[in-house]
């Protein structure tokens, strides 16, 4: 069995007048795999290339060198373009700039309409997709009447209606308030649990990565870490040096270790820290 998404040695450049050779390197040899049903979080400081990487996963950008394969099909091959884009759906940062229609159900219909599906099948998908993100009651509402979290859930429903096997969230929670972020994360988590859809979450909120299966850290267009969140965050000092914010718990644990408390290095949830501290106290 191959991987659902396979990124091999991808390099990508943006034209840039000021830089050497007239181009700026955005991705400098990235390797990454995503398996069916997997939750992969990708973090990196600004300019680390994480959004560029995201756009490679469904052929919005094509690699200058290397290759991206989705379900075994190269994104370079124009024959597979639409298959790849319906396999890997994408949700973007600004909810206002990705909703096409002035009616929620019409927007959800946009993808399936592009696929040329029969009307009754599209109507079925509208209903099931909106229900899956908890927006079933909003089908006849106008997007501008919705909150940020609701709009982003509509955008997810729009992707879902194409029945993808992977959803890429490109900083999809960055413009939302904490409540909206929570709404979106819960909706995504449910989709993965109930429908087995793989999730690639590009983010700079370290608090969101603890529940991922894998945490990939990008820096300067390269993958500098690719492991379980626990293993990556255990290297808190390194992570901080890459300009990333460490989750509060890990940071606190790190400070306590510096003060000489014998705490384990891989604490990522508040509950774990509490338990470790309690154990420490009862043992002394």
């Amino acid at each position: 069995m191959g991987h659902l998404i396979e990124v091999r040695g991808v390099r990508f450049f943006y034209p840039s007048a000021g830089a050497a050779e007239g181009r700026r390197t955005a991705l400098d040899g990235v390797d990454l795999t995503v398996d069916e049903g997997e939750w992969v979080a990708v973090v990196g400081a600004n300019g680390s290339g994480k959004s560029t990487l995201a756009k490679h996963l469904n052929a919005l950008l094509l690699p200058a060198e290397g290759e991206v394969r989705v379900d075994g099909k190269s994104t370079r091959d124009p024959v597979h373009l639409w298959t790849i884009r319906r396999t890997v759906g994408m949700v973007f940062q600004n909810p206002d700039n990705q909703i096409v229609a002035s009616l929620v159900e019409e927007d959800v219909a946009f993808g399936p309409e592009n696929l040329g599906l029969p009307p009754e099948e599209i109507r079925r998908r509208i209903a099931s997709s909106l229900a899956a993100v908890g927006m079933g009651d909003f089908a006849r509402r106008a997007p501008y009447q919705l909150s940020g979290g609701q709009k982003q859930r509509v955008a997810i429903a729009g992707v879902l209606a194409m029945q993808p096997r992977c959803i890429v969230l490109d900083e999809a929670t960055a413009m939302l308030d904490p409540a909206g972020r929570q709404e979106v994360l819960q909706a995504v988590e449910r989709l993965r649990r109930e429908r087995g859809i793989a999730v690639v979450m590009i983010t700079h909120f370290m608090d969101e990565v603890a529940h991922a299966d894998r945490l990939v850290v990008l820096s300067g267009g390269r993958v500098v870490a690719d492991d379980s969140p626990r293993a990556v965050l255990a290297r808190a000092e390194e992570v901080a040096q890459l300009g990333l914010e460490v989750p509060q718990v890990s940071e606190l644990a790190l400070e306590l270790r510096r003060e000489g408390l014998p705490l384990p290095a891989d604490l990522i949830a508040p509950q774990e820290l509490v338990e470790a501290l309690c154990r420490l106290r009862s043992s002394t």
């Binding site: 756009k55 002035s102 040329g116 599209i122």
Partner: protein
């Protein structure tokens, strides 16, 4: 703000008129407007006036909406009446210096004014009872046969859809920019027309830059959702011609035919 956003002032409802197929309504309105300019005798105008009147009543729209639809064109109506009355050669009824109000002029002027009133009232009925989305779908569907002649039916409809979608977003953005500029001491209210027009520049520039950025992001998002033009695209909404559509078409056709026959006999 949502009140200011109702484009074409659509009044949602569930009446017979609301439920008519948008293509039927569009075609009937077009036929009506054409025939309107063939009417000559008062009887024909009376029949033509009855059609929109019946429409407003069936749509359960308050009749003051007729007046609301006319208010913006009152000046044009008066101008039409005055110019026609003065400029048409014929028997002078009343002299003002070298100008004279002629009997023929008065007749032509009144006739033109009545035609304009009926035109406005009927097309307003269309936009009052048809949602912008249905209207867009109707236009796309009616233009489809002309695609071979190079009419970009789908592209026009998609542009209208996106424009409708972004009007509230851009209005909100304009408000934000306005407040931001005012907070920095910008003055949009005082001075003469030229001064105020110049004051709009710091509002319009960021608004346009923002709109282009949005357009770019939207295009990427549309491509990510497999958009590749109208080719092979289906619609989830299906429109079917119902019996009420046939009845509306038959009644309108009969009335319009009466007007045409009346002209053929009368001249």
């Amino acid at each position: 703000m949502p009140d200011a956003l109702t484009i074409g002032h659509y009044v949602p409802g569930d009446s017979v008129v609301h439920r008519l197929d948008s293509r039927v309504k569009l075609l009937l309105t077009m036929a009506y407007v054409i025939v309107l300019f063939f009417a000559v005798r008062p009887g024909a105008y009376a029949v033509l006036a009855l059609l929109p009147l019946a429409g407003y009543l069936l749509a359960r729209l308050p009749l003051r909406m007729v007046w609301q639809g006319l208010r913006p064109v009152v000046a044009v109506l008066l101008l039409t009446l005055i110019l026609n009355a003065l400029m048409t050669p014929g028997h002078p009824l009343y002299r003002i210096g070298r100008l004279a109000v002629t009997a023929e002029g008065l007749q032509v002027g009144v006739e033109m004014a009545v035609r304009l009133i009926l035109l406005m009232v009927t097309s307003t009925l269309l936009t009052l009872t048809t949602s912008p989305i249905e209207l867009t779908d109707g236009i796309e569907s009616l233009l489809r046969p002309f695609r071979r002649l190079g009419v970009p039916a789908h592209e026009l409809a998609m542009m209208m859809t996106i424009a409708l979608r972004f009007i509230p977003t851009l209005l909100e953005e304009a408000q934000n920019i306005l407040k931001a500029q005012q907070a920095r001491g910008a003055d949009f209210e005082t001075g003469n027309l030229l001064r105020r027009a110049r004051a709009m520049i710091p509002l319009l520039v960021p608004l346009f830059v923002g709109a282009f950025r949005r357009a770019d992001e939207l295009a990427t998002a549309m491509e990510a959702r497999c958009y590749h033009g109208g080719e092979g695209r289906t619609r989830y909404r299906e429109y079917r011609i119902a019996r009420s559509d046939w009845v509306a078409a038959a009644v309108t056709a009969a009335a319009l035919l009466f007007v045409l026959v009346d002209r053929a006999l009368g001249v």
